[in-house]
């Protein structure tokens, strides 16, 4: 057993041990025990992943497991990346969970399932055959479902979110199942090497069926529009460390599936697949961020932002597949997509964990009820601020580098690709650009309204900072974010070789430790220099202003309220009002619903006693796609109920008519 296998094995053992601890230990010890052991499990998973990325592959077969199918474990460098990300997110979430779960999710079931969720995610990417992949995929879905439902007895929305999640994930699974089994049917057995061999003699139609089915299935897990509806429901309703794990690690596995099937197993394939991927990615990115911009629920906002970022990743994947003839650009696009995925995992962990701290400390996650948290919750505020900076793709944040790489790939895509690419690339760039702009507005809203200003509710006014384990976890995540932001080079070389391995080409980027220099095309960026220069300029400026230009002390003064009475928190801009101009701009897309209720005074219809204004932004795709679907289903169900009226004559009649029909058929066709 090589280091990769050893570390993976240790991770699995630790995960199971943590689950046992979660089920068996007493209440006051449980959170600490589970958190500590799960953190170790995550760390071991990260080590396994890094080791695999460095080239130590691991292979093992367990034919006795999973009846009729058997289980094969293969950890290659692709698995390694996802393994490392999952492990790292799990590590941070588990540390965070020590403090967080003690208060909110300390039941036996959630605590036992949490580590299982972690190891099932690790197993999904380690699976080496279709059966193992499917079984781990469903186990992961099961674990996450149980975790989403943790707080079902407190809020009715949790059960509703759980239902959406369960149904969508189940349907998604069927799509994956069908796709992979069509693939398997053409192969000797269901291991990945056999599938790779089979891909060569697969008919184009079959290959397309496989790809589209798996794209839909994996895409639904990644929250791609229009299969995203579960995501902004389920991610917010789960306990926050689970949300982080789901949003930062689990959605990645959808990307893993697309990469694994599309690039690795099917080996690229037809151009229109990747056009489809690119289109889905573009729509998801813009739609996701647009709804994030309108959301007032902090975690829902983050959930929609996950859809957005997965959309960006899909744009990268689609571009990579589209320009596969040009290995340099394709590798660049793939590396950009993967880097963005890693970055997203890092900053989304920070953001969800910080949101959890807010929920815990201020008792609400409604932006309209928050504000003024920078004083009572300095660590959380700082962490969220840095996470928001990263998420809005501004320098020196993490997402900036990956979006820069993505745009570089799109710029250089031109010479090699066909007409489709020439049409799609500008649109993709427009989508990325629009997403970037809206992301800025969204995260300014989230951070500015949620954390700055003055508290808008009693809960926010009485907020308190989270315990040390939670802030420590936040600190670790922020540190990882910062390292990724200024030194993406340490990861990018690995990603480059990974992408070139998947596309069977050369490495797209060269690194000298500080500067990202693209190979084959011109382009260079040094996030470290950028950060150093910016910070240096700011510090120098502070020094100049403080030491040379002003010598007076700051005077505290009341806020300028036009001289009238004190400003109350009700006068502050809320998240809703902040987003209102944007909402008006994108009126035709989001179609907000507004009701105005005017209550007249009893004496006269001309005197108004009260005006009530309600404004809701509903998910339009949900309304257009899912509402009619659900209505059709209920019509179908109502019609079907006439089949079972209770009449025994009718029941017997079914048999009689069938029998007669069958006999006639037999008589005719003999």
């Amino acid at each position: 057993m090589n280091p990769t296998g050893l570390a993976l094995g240790v991770a699995l053992v630790l995960g199971v041990f943590a689950a046992v601890l979660g089920a068996a230990t007493r209440k006051h010890l449980r959170a600490r025990a589970v958190g500590a052991v799960t953190a170790l499990c995550g760390a071991a998973g990260t080590i396994a992943g890094i080791s695999a990325m460095c080239g130590t592959r691991y292979y093992a077969a367990f034919p006795a497991l999973l009846p009729l199918s058997g289980v094969t474990i293969t950890v290659d460098s692709t698995s390694g990346l996802f393994l490392a990300v999952t492990g790292a997110v799990a590590f941070v979430s588990a540390v965070y969970g020590v403090g967080y779960a003690r208060a909110d999710a300390n039941g036996r079931l959630p605590q036992a399932v949490f580590p299982l969720f972690v190891i099932t995610m690790m197993l999904v990417v380690s699976a080496g055959n279709v059966g193992a992949l499917l079984v781990c995929w469903e186990l992961m879905a099961l674990c996450s479902l149980v975790l989403v439902l943790t707080e079902h007895h407190r809020r009715p929305e949790v059960a509703r979110a759980g239902r959406w999640y369960a149904v969508m994930t189940h349907l998604g699974f069927v799509a994956i199942l069908a796709g992979l089994l069509v693939f398997t049917a053409a192969a000797d057995d269901d291991t990945f090497p056999a599938l790779r061999v089979a891909a060569h003699h697969l008919s184009p139609t079959t290959a397309s069926v496989v790809f589209v089915a798996t794209l839909l299935g994996f895409g639904s897990k990644a929250g791609v529009v229009p299969l995203h509806v579960w995501l902004p429901r389920a991610h917010p309703e789960a306990p926050s460390h689970v949300s982080a794990l789901m949003s930062a690690a689990m959605v990645n596995l959808g990307v893993y599936g697309i990469v694994r099937v599309g690039f690795d197993l099917l080996g690229g394939g037809q151009r229109w697949w990747w056009l489809l991927t690119l289109a889905l990615g573009g729509i998801s990115a813009v739609y996701g961020i647009l709804h994030a911009a309108m959301s007032t629920d902090l975690k829902r906002l983050l959930g929609y932002s996950t859809t957005e970022n997965m959309g960006l990743v899909l744009i990268g994947l689609g571009a990579a597949g589209l320009v596969a003839d040009d290995p340099v650009v394709a590798g660049l696009a793939l590396a950009a997509a993967l880097l963005h995925m890693v970055n997203h995992a890092a900053f989304k962990t920070v953001l969800f964990l910080a949101a959890g701290s807010v929920q815990r400390g201020a008792g609400s996650r409604d932006l309209d009820a928050l504000g003024g948290l920078s004083g009572p919750m300095p660590f959380t505020t700082a962490a969220f601020g840095l996470g928001a900076l990263a998420a809005s793709a501004l320098p020196p944040g993490t997402a900036f580098v990956s979006e820069w790489l993505l745009l570089q790939a799109l710029i250089h895509a031109r010479p090699s690709a066909g007409a489709a690419a020439v049409v799609m690339m500008p649109i993709a760039v427009a989508a990325v650009a629009l997403t970037a702009g809206l992301a800025v507005a969204t995260f300014v809203k989230a951070f500015g309204v949620g954390f700055l200003g003055r508290p808008r509710s009693a809960g926010a006014a009485a907020a308190r900072e989270s315990p040390a384990s939670m802030t420590a976890a936040l600190g670790i995540a922020v540190a990882v974010c910062a390292v990724l932001a200024v030194l993406p080079t340490i990861l990018l070389s690995q990603l480059g070789s990974l992408a070139s391995g998947l596309l069977r080409t050369g490495s797209p980027a060269a690194m000298d430790g500080i500067v990202v220099r693209l190979v084959g095309v011109s382009g260079a960026l040094s996030p470290l220099m950028l950060a150093v220069v910016s910070v240096g300029a700011a510090l120098g400026l502070v020094a100049v202003v403080r030491l040379v230009l002003t010598r007076q002390a700051r005077r505290a003064a009341r806020l300028w309220d036009c001289g009238a009475g004190p400003l109350s928190a009700r006068m502050e801009y809320t998240a809703t009002s902040f987003a209102e101009p944007l909402q008006r701009v994108f009126d035709d897309v989001v179609q907000p619903e507004t009701d105005v209720d005017v209550t007249h005074a009893r004496e006269s219809a001309y005197l108004v006693e009260a005006i009530e204004f309600r404004n809701r932004v509903l998910d339009r795709i949900e309304r257009w796609l899912y509402t009619p679907l659900l209505r059709a289903v209920s019509v179908w169900a109502a019609a079907a109920r006439r089949l079972a009226t209770g009449s025994v004559h009718r029941y017997l009649g079914y048999g009689f008519y069938t029998l007669c029909g069958l006999l006639i058929l037999l008589a005719v066709t003999r």
Partner: protein, 220 residues
């Protein structure tokens, strides 16, 4: 017994079988139905007896006696008890499909039976096997009775009609099933009828009626 007599008697009995089936569609009074059913049982017993005489099997003779006892004796008696227990108001069956249509359907079903049974006849052409379609027709008519008669006892009759048809097919295929199986079959039919009769009683207790069409409480 000469071959011709055997054939004529066999055909007579089979004709009786079909005729009684049609009669059961025609008549409404439960008491009459039961009497017709007894006659049909007798016809069946005759077929069995003829087969016993023709093939000279003791087993078949025993089967004939069994049929006589069961279908002319016990089952009509059970049915009569079931009918006697219900009030005079419900001694008439009220079919869901009217009599004229029922008769027409019966004709169609008989034709279908002939069409379907051609391979059966062709497998071993003989006097007995050429009557198999009648058995099949009786089965289908019995099924039809089941889906169109509202009273529990008349549904029972339909079920027994089907069973008679099946027994007829069994006898006419001249391939005596092993006696144990035959016994088991008979016992099962008897038990099924017993169960149904008891259930009819319970139905009367709980519903105050034996109209099967009223059983509509369990539905979606």
């Amino acid at each position: 017994m000469s071959e011709t007599t055997y054939v004529q008697l066999l055909y007579l009995a089979c004709g009786g079988l079909l005729l009684t089936s049609v009669l059961m569609l025609w008549r409404r009074e439960l008491a009459v139905l039961i009497r017709v059913f007894a006659v049909q049982g007798f016809a069946l017993a005759v077929i069995a007896g003829l087969a016993a005489l023709h093939h000279g099997g003791i087993e078949l003779g025993a089967v004939a006696v069994g049929i006589l006892v069961l279908r002319v004796g016990i089952l009509p008696w059970l049915l009569r008890r079931a009918v006697a227990a219900v009030g005079p108001a419900s001694r008439e069956t009220r079919p869901l499909v009217n009599v004229a249509a029922s008769l027409l359907v019966a004709a169609v079903l008989t034709l279908l039976a002939y069409a379907v049974s051609r391979p059966l006849v062709e497998l071993a052409p003989a006097a007995a096997t050429s009557a198999i379609p009648i058995g099949v027709a009786v089965v289908l008519i019995g099924f039809f009775v089941l889906i169109t008669r509202r009273r529990a006892p008349s549904q029972l009759v339909g079920f027994l009609l089907m069973d008679n048809g099946i027994t007829a097919v069994g006898l006419l295929t001249t391939a005596g099933v092993a006696l144990t199986v035959e016994l088991g079959v008979a016992l099962d039919v008897l038990l099924a009828v017993l169960v149904l009769q008891i259930l009819t009683g319970r139905m009367r207790e709980t519903f105050g009626d034996t109209d099967v069409a009223e059983l509509r409480e369990l539905h979606d």
